[in-house]
């Protein structure tokens, strides 16, 4: 921190995109984005303590087209960060470092997070009685 000559974190643009590096930066980006999800969680829970009008307002903001778009992003970020986080825990345990395994587990994470995001949204529409 004191010296200006210390090596910096990787400059992403100088590397050829690969599933390993792309998922690594996506893990960070979704993590930072999910802080917004945490704040939405706090807003949603706390709105209920201010009475029915405040809670209904929160529900209609989250249910508007913009609210649903934000929730779609948050929910995808959540499932991705969850699945890739489990991948990280597996690495911490010493498992899955071979290149074919690394790529395969990355694909599994992407397929899982995309499909479960769609399923969650369908479940939400079903719970709301839309479908």
């Amino acid at each position: 921190m004191a010296s200006g000559n210390r090596p910096l974190s990787p400059h992403l643009q100088v590397y050829r995109p690969q599933i390993t590096s792309m998922l690594s930066i996506l893990h960070r980006m979704t993590g930072v984005g999910l802080v917004g999800g945490a704040l939405i969680f706090t807003y949603w829970i706390s709105s209920a303590t201010y009475g029915p009008e405040a809670f209904d307002r929160a529900q209609s903001i989250l249910g508007s087209w913009f609210g649903r778009l934000v929730l779609l992003a948050v929910i995808f970020a959540f499932y991705f960060h969850l699945a890739n986080g489990i991948r990280h825990l597996a690495w911490d345990a010493g498992w899955g470092y071979e290149m074919p395994t690394l790529r395969a587990s990355g694909v599994v994470v992407l397929v899982f997070s995309t499909s479960v995001t769609i399923l969650t949204f369908l479940a939400g529409y079903w719970a709301a009685g839309v479908i």
């Binding site: 829970i45 303590t49 929910i75 986080g85 825990l89």
Partner: protein, 125 residues
């Protein structure tokens, strides 16, 4: 797979000493706790789409749900705060900005967690 070199094993934990190991363990512990807690929350919250306050309070105040919500809040903001710390330490290169951001992130996380827990408790009355 053994990833430590014989030299690394001989030198031990390095400059971070036991404190670095403690931080590493705290990061994993919160992450592990969040796996079941967030999945439970997601499965429950889906049924609150379009719900009114009565339905919401019935869920949020019932059975073990307030306890699970409080545990989720603690693990969530603890994890968020440690994650943001890593990102700030990696990408912010001005020492003063690093210190100020870390203080704001950590105090902000404490505030959000306390406010959320207070709200959850109020919902049970």
């Amino acid at each position: 797979m053994e990833l430590r070199s014989p030299l690394g094993r001989a030198r031990g934990p390095g400059s971070a000493k036991e404190g670095g190991i403690g931080q590493w363990k705290a990061e994993r512990l919160a992450a592990i706790a969040l796996v079941p807690l967030t999945l439970w929350f997601m499965a429950s919250a889906v049924f609150m789409v379009g719900a009114d306050l009565v339905t919401f309070k019935e869920w949020a105040g019932a059975h073990g749900n307030p306890v699970l919500l409080i545990l989720l809040t603690i693990a969530l903001y603890h994890h968020a705060q440690m994650g943001l710390q890593v990102v700030i330490e990696d990408y912010v290169h001005h020492e003063g900005v690093v210190i100020i951001s870390l203080v704001l992130v950590k105090l902000g996380a404490f505030f959000c967690a306390a406010y959320t827990i207070f709200s959850i408790v109020r919902l049970t009355f």
